[in-house]
Symmetry: C2
Subunit: 189 residues, 2 copies
Amino acid sequence: MNHEEQLEQIKHRVSEQIAENMKSYGFPGTIGRVIAAIYYEGRALDLDELAEQTGMSKTRMSQVLREMVHYNIAEKAFVRGSRKDHYTVEEDYYQTFISLFTSNWRDVVTRNRKIESRIMHDLKKITNDPTATEEIKEKAQLYIADSKASMAYYNWIEKLVELFESQQVFDIVPKPNPDQEKNEVPRFK
Amino acid sequence: MNHEEQLEQIKHRVSEQIAENMKSYGFPGTIGRVIAAIYYEGRALDLDELAEQTGMSKTRMSQVLREMVHYNIAEKAFVRGSRKDHYTVEEDYYQTFISLFTSNWRDVVTRNRKIESRIMHDLKKITNDPTATEEIKEKAQLYIADSKASMAYYNWIEKLVELFESQQVFDIVPKPNPDQEKNEVPRFK
DNA sequence: AACTTTATACAAAATAAAGTGTACGAATTG
DNA sequence: CAATTCGTACACTTTATTTTGTATAAAGTT
């Protein structure tokens, strides 16, 4: 294996590594391959190019990029002279990490608040029902307390999301070595 | 549907809700059902009881509980007079949240450090190879910079894990309403 | 030591998720 | 306005994960 091939192979290993990380985080590995492809090309790619680079179908690219846009880790880039959609990805690792988790957590909070409020409604109907026994009402009261505690917990997650999204987290846990390492965002290629 | 049944149905909805959350976080939904079952019973349960409560096979319970112990969200509880394994779960939502993510992130950091160090080794071999062209060496040098940046990033994640595990995160994002809500840990049942 | 009881390894089945190919509608071009 | 290009909806296939059933090993009991 010559040097050129060795470097290609390393690109491939990095790509797979990122894919594995995405899987660990509960996202499709293909997201990782897309990130790597765009990183290494160093420019916005269109769906055909991405399909080519990742060895996936164009259909799949369409799906994955939509997911990535939803998670705020990719965005359409305007490329003059082409009517294809081109995509760039967030190039700051830290930001990608933050976006993945915060958008996920935010979705969870939204969903759970809806469910909790419906449950709370049903429980209150029981505690206000004159035909319900004392025993039942007591139990319902306990569940109401649980539900309130859950709501408080979702508020906490929301606050946590804000800590990350506001970048305040970097005041608490600073990015390492801002002088020894390059100060700019790490870029591939 | 009578009141008793309504309360049962709410338990079931909460159970499914937690299951969905686990799926969102990239973990099997069954973990959520186990948490709910033990919460609602209010005591350590054995594998047979858990299988019964969650409607899963005993085999699956064995697997899931092992996973949960690995993620630090369940532990074996000693129950005198029984030789079955009994399990309790972490009852503090916040702690469960923290454990799930930190153990996951920690695994990612460990795995990636190993891979990066192997990649770094291969790249250094190229930069030190007298038969390699200048162009190749330059490219390798760029990849080395990338790899260093990645390492720094994994250090950051590790620090983030420490922020959560040390409970310091609660100094930054406090648990809400420590007086209005009950001060103790929320408990089901 | 034979008999239970319990947990889990292993293979197979069921379910869920990822990925593909065709087809169609919207936008663009000639 | 016919022809082309592009993205994606939809139905389908493939692959991966979850879950089960059987079999076995380890530990406890008689």
